[in-house]
């Protein structure tokens, strides 16, 4: 099952990211994952939060442009070569990864990764057939 990610437009100006994290903190929104993609003149902050809809509302009220997108979350097996094997499965299933990033925290050395793929539904099917089931929103919540 895919989970909702929020993508936020970031103008390339000092303090913009701070403004975003402050807005979330002030509204008691807990970030599970955050990644920033940047060019020389703008950036996109991608975040996973418990309540995606609530967070998007808060951000939009704060004059940010926020948009949902579907991503897949996977637990990375806690053993050497874990991520490599996971990516191998993506490769076998011919899933095209647009970008990926790690989830903050996690416990007992266990790692979780977020993947944005070209066709989320098709990727999910192909990966599930290979025994790789993405995390459901509730599972993500429980990390």
């Amino acid at each position: 099952m895919s989970i909702k990610q929020i993508s936020v437009f970031l103008e390339n100006k000092p303090g913009k990211l701070f403004e975003l994290t402050r807005l979330l903190a002030d509204n008691g929104i807990d970030m599970r994952a955050l990644s920033i993609a940047e060019t020389t003149d703008f950036g996109i902050a991608r975040l996973i939060v418990g309540d995606a809809y609530g967070a998007a509302r808060v951000l939009r009220e704060g004059q940010f442009i926020a948009q949902y997108s579907d991503v897949l979350a996977f637990a990375v097996p806690d053993e050497p070569g874990g991520l490599h094997r996971l990516l191998g499965a993506f490769n076998d299933a011919q899933v095209n990864i647009e970008y990926m990033y790690a989830v903050l925290g996690g416990e007992k050395g266990r790692a979780y990764m977020i993947f944005r793929v070209t066709d989320t539904e098709a990727a999910e099917r192909a990966l599930t057939e290979r025994g790789l089931t993405p995390l459901a929103p509730e599972e993500m919540e429980a990390i």
Partner: protein
């Protein structure tokens, strides 16, 4: 072969043209004096009576009308006919206080459509052609004017109006449209969209385009001609003066022939009001000699151009005006190129952005820097860096094509462009010249 809609008028001798102008001017001045108290007062202030006007040579005795007069007299103060004789209004999209509402009698509409028909035939259209009118319909004059002109020529008219670019392309292809009428920036945008769809000029039947309602560069003309595989013709007009069709380009494409049987042009020094000789750049002033409902005498267009009375190889005898350089009051000169904020606005709108922008000009090491801040909109934003950069690149190319120089486009967060008293500050010029 050159086609004319009204050859006996379009190719008339100078003596004939002057005679028409004089007769009509004398009548028009008297009619306006008697029916438009606002203009009568202006004449009285200048000490002129209708008896002083005996022909075109007396034109310079008359007072000017300006945008400010239009504002003062809004909405009915300049009407030359009672409301019940009017059949239509058109209006510009200007903000409050700047909006022009023009009235038309059936006679006015008829003359206006004749002017547009002349422009269409000068661009090669005949009753065999299919004309797609992609100017906006409604209050804007573009759609109605070219639509009416196309009917007069007897073309099959496709009243598309603007927007829905993919459907526009589909209609051009399915209905074999041969002539396209729209704004130049929309034509450029259609071309870009065709490229995205993998279509080239050989995939569409268009042969000519009539593009007006905004200032555009020669570079933009070449771009459009190449991507659409057509000959692109300019057309000029203002809502106050009916709409498009005050002047139009012929196959020669060296200036636009002013429809002198209806419009008498003058070029003046915008500061002193002094009439300048032919060939000199100055502000275009137009007197509409037979418009009834919204008569404009010595109307200052604010457009900067010059007049050329040399014989044109197309056979038309009416005077030609150069491409107007746009409004004299908000022009910027950047790296020697004239830039008008309105041009930037149209490109932004055509590319799906809100017209929320700010132009930053500075001078670094003796070179002008030119940057345009554009507010990101939720509609334009996507999760992909590559896609946003692509949008930025397309916009930048569209601006270069329109302006002749390439600005740096910087996307900024919504509502960040400085507003003074609620109105955005459009130009920040830090050059110390």
């Amino acid at each position: 072969m050159e086609h004319y809609y009204q050859p006996e008028i379009e190719c008339a001798s100078r003596e004939e043209i002057t005679r028409w102008q004089s007769e009509r001017l004398v009548k028009q001045v008297r009619r306006v004096y008697e029916n438009v108290p606002y203009y009568r007062q202006k004449m009285e202030e200048k000490g002129v009576t209708p008896d002083d006007i005996r022909g075109v040579e007396d034109l310079k005795k008359l007072p000017f009308l300006s945008k400010a007069d239009l504002r003062d007299a809004y909405p009915y103060g300049l009407m030359g006919k009672p409301m019940k004789e009017c059949v239509r209004i058109h209006s510009t999209s200007g903000t409050t206080g700047k909006r022009v509402v023009a009235f038309y009698t059936q006679h006015d509409i008829d003359l206006w459509e004749d002017c547009c028909a002349r422009a269409l035939m000068a661009a090669g259209a005949t009753d065999e052609d299919v004309v797609q009118v992609s100017y906006g319909y409604g209050l804007f004059t573009g759609g109605a004017g070219l639509d009416g002109g196309s009917h007069k020529v007897g073309c099959l008219t496709v009243p598309m109006s603007s927007g829905n670019t993919d459907r526009q392309i589909m209609f051009i292809r399915d209905l074999n449209a041969t002539v396209l009428c729209c704004t130049p920036s929309y034509a450029a945008y259609l071309g870009e969209r065709m490229k995205e769809l993998g279509l080239g000029p050989e995939d569409i039947p268009l042969k000519a385009g009539i593009f007006g309602a905004e200032a555009w560069s020669e570079e933009m003309r070449r771009d459009i001609e190449k991507t659409l595989g057509i000959k692109a013709y300019d057309i000029y007009g203002l809502t106050e003066l009916s709409g498009p069709g005050v002047s139009f380009e012929c196959s020669e494409q060296r200036g636009m022939h002013i429809n002198e049987d209806h419009f008498i042009p003058e070029i003046i020094d915008p500061d002193t009001g002094e009439v300048l000789p032919d060939g000199t750049m100055g502000e275009l002033v137009i007197t509409a000699v037979d418009k009834e409902a919204f008569p404009m005498i010595r109307y200052r267009t604010k457009d900067i151009c010059s007049l050329n009375r040399e014989k044109c190889s197309c056979g038309r005898t009416h005077v030609r005006m150069t491409k107007p350089r746009g409004r004299s009051d908000d022009m910027l000169i950047i790296r020697g190129v004239n830039v008008f904020p309105s041009q930037i606005e149209t490109v932004l709108l055509n590319h799906g952005y809100a017209a929320n922008y700010q132009i930053l000009v500075d001078r670094v090491n003796n070179t002008d820097t030119f940057e345009i801040l554009v507010e990101m909109t939720p509609e334009m934003f996507t999760d992909s860096i590559g896609q946003i950069q692509q949008l930025q690149k397309t916009l930048s190319a569209g601006l270069q094509s329109m302006l002749g120089i390439r600005p740096k486009v910087t996307l900024v967060a919504p509502k960040t462009i400085a507003r003074s008293e609620g109105k955005a500050v459009r130009v920040v010029d830090k050059r110390k010249i």
